[in-house]
Amino acid sequence: MTTAMVEAKGVRKSFGSTEILKGIDLRVERGSVTCLIGPSGSGKTTFLRCINHLEKVDAGRLYVDENLVGYAERNGKLYEMQERQTARSRLNAGMVFQRFNLFPHMTVMENVVEAPIHVLGRPRKDVTAEAQVLLDRVGLGDRGDAYPQELSGGQQQRIAIARALAMKPKLMLFDEPTSALDPELVGEVLDVMKSLAEAGMTMVVVTHELAFAKQVADQVIFMDQGVVVESGPPQDVLGNPQHERTKAFLSKVL
């Protein structure tokens, strides 16, 4: 058995006195697509942010590419990592946000080459050539000189995907990538994600697009109130749900 790209064991997270994650166990296999679905407030986004250590895990263990996220384990104790180490470990995963979060003061090209140049310290010439390939891949090869605000939401999100890919991550995290988009722009972003999945990228997607989940996901995980209620292949979880809460959620969404 190969090791998983992401492995969570009893992951817990609280904000103040509110417990958001109440012990999450799951595995994301290499090269697979996992869709996290569930009602708002169920902890999907928080869990996704934990994978990238944008939120600290309070208890349990979360491994990404066999490395413990945010902590170093020595002599039976967990030591919180230095910020610099955490930043290094984040390079394994690329992240795409609901509200794009492109850098508005940089052009599209500058957005894409920023981190490879200034974080990885790679030569600008190589990075720019690669970035052009990525922009072509998301269908925006001619918009390198534009500023993000001059683009539509769908275009901005495709740039955000290219920006994350420029770091050559082993894993891509998508936090409701189409929720802030006008309905007619959702398709173009999902198409890019589909092609990424076909190319073999490991992906964890928080989404409300059940059609996308059904079509692309290898594994669908239904979360509610901070726990994993049900998980499995999409035809099982979406087509033949076993739990009442899953059924109730799907009947509202579908």
Binding site: R49, N52, L54, E83, R84, T86, A87, R88, R90, L91, A93, G94, M95, F97, R99, N101, L102, F103, P104, H105, M106, T107, E114, A115, H118, V119, L120, Y147, P148, Q149, E150, A160, R163, A164, M167
Partner: protein, 312 residues
């Protein structure tokens, strides 16, 4: 299309010429504003008569103004005012940035120290601070580097020698300015969307790089207009240092008119120089604002089309 007069005072009714190639366009007669036009005429008359009055009034002594405008004493004073402004603002902005980041620190001690600094330097008059630094030798006759609580120390020199009047002025102006700039920069940093931190962190940035590359350039847009205000008020605020007997622009003018009793003409000379420097600084402010507004105000990038007088 015919070029029309844009001066509102022309009472002509514009006669739009129909353009032959766009037969669908309908001629539009712009709305006229007779009251606005009348007010504009009155204002122009008032302005002209006031200007004429000032120019013709012999008691302004314009000949004296012109003879002193480029006098070496005034020029040196203007130069010193400019140096005081540039140095104090530079130190003020640098220290203010540090204070702003400290103020936003998660460590309560660090943020409280910054808060205390800002509280103190904003809460006491600048004039008092300047006189305090000027008289620092009365409190600390000797300046030394050493360990606290009476530990061993290396004497650097007498405070009177080390802190000259100019040094006291720069110290006072810079430290005071830092407190104001800290609040302006804190506001700018606070205006940047929280998602920008997430995005930068997700790309592997941390601490200083995240601030320098992502947050501060965006904060600049919000920070610049009030900073321009600060620069201009600093330029004029430097005239306070005349209490420390530093011959800045205003003090130089005062020295001259205390000899020749031409008070008003010399104040005009000083004012003209202040105006000139303010104008030049505003020009640079505009350029900077445009530089850091890139990507935000999308409309400024597009070439403006000439206003069409016809609606299609």
């Amino acid at each position: 299309m015919q070029q029309q007069s844009t001066i509102p005072t022309s009472g002509q009714t514009p006669t739009p010429t129909p353009t032959p190639d766009s037969s669908e366009s309908i001629p539009v007669v712009p709305l006229r504003h007779p009251i606005r036009t009348a007010i504009a005429v009155v204002l122009i008359l008032v302005a002209i008569s006031a200007a004429w009055d000032v120019a013709a009034n012999k008691r302004y002594h314009w000949d004296v103004v012109i003879s002193f405008l480029f006098s070496p004493q005034i020029m040196t004073g203007a130069g010193l005012t400019l140096v005081l402004t540039v140095v104090s603002m530079t130190v003020g902005i640098a220290l203010g940035t540090v204070l702003a980041i400290m103020r936003l620190s998660a460590n309560p001690i660090v943020s409280t120290i910054s808060r205390g600094y800002i509280w103190f330097f904003r809460g006491t008059p600048l004039l008092v601070q300047l006189i305090f630094w000027y008289n620092i030798a009365a409190l600390y006759p000797v300046i030394a580097l050493g360990l606290p609580f009476g530990g061993p120390s290396i004497v650097i020199g007498s405070a009177n020698v080390l802190i000259s009047p100019l040094g006291a002025a720069l110290l006072g102006l810079s430290l005071n300015e830092a407190a104001y700039m800290a609040e302006i920069i804190r506001g700018g940093i606070g205006s940047v969307d929280k998602g920008q931190y997430d995005a930068a962190r997700a790309l592997g940035m941390n601490g200083g790089k995240l601030m320098r590359r992502v947050i501060l350039p965006q904060a600049m847009r919000v920070v610049l207009p009030p900073t321009g205000n600060q620069v201009i008020s600093m330029l004029k605020g430097t005239s306070l240092v005349s209490v420390l007997a530093i011959s800045d622009l205003l003090y130089s003018a005062q020295i001259i008119y205390s000899n020749n009793y031409q008070t008003i003409p010399l104040l005009i000379v000083a004012s003209l120089w202040y105006l000139l420097m303010t104008t030049v600084l505003s020009f640079f402010q505009n350029k900077l604002e445009r530089r850091y507004g890139r990507g935000f105000d999308v409309s400024t990038r597009r070439t403006r089309k000439p206003k069409a007088r016809t609606a299609s």
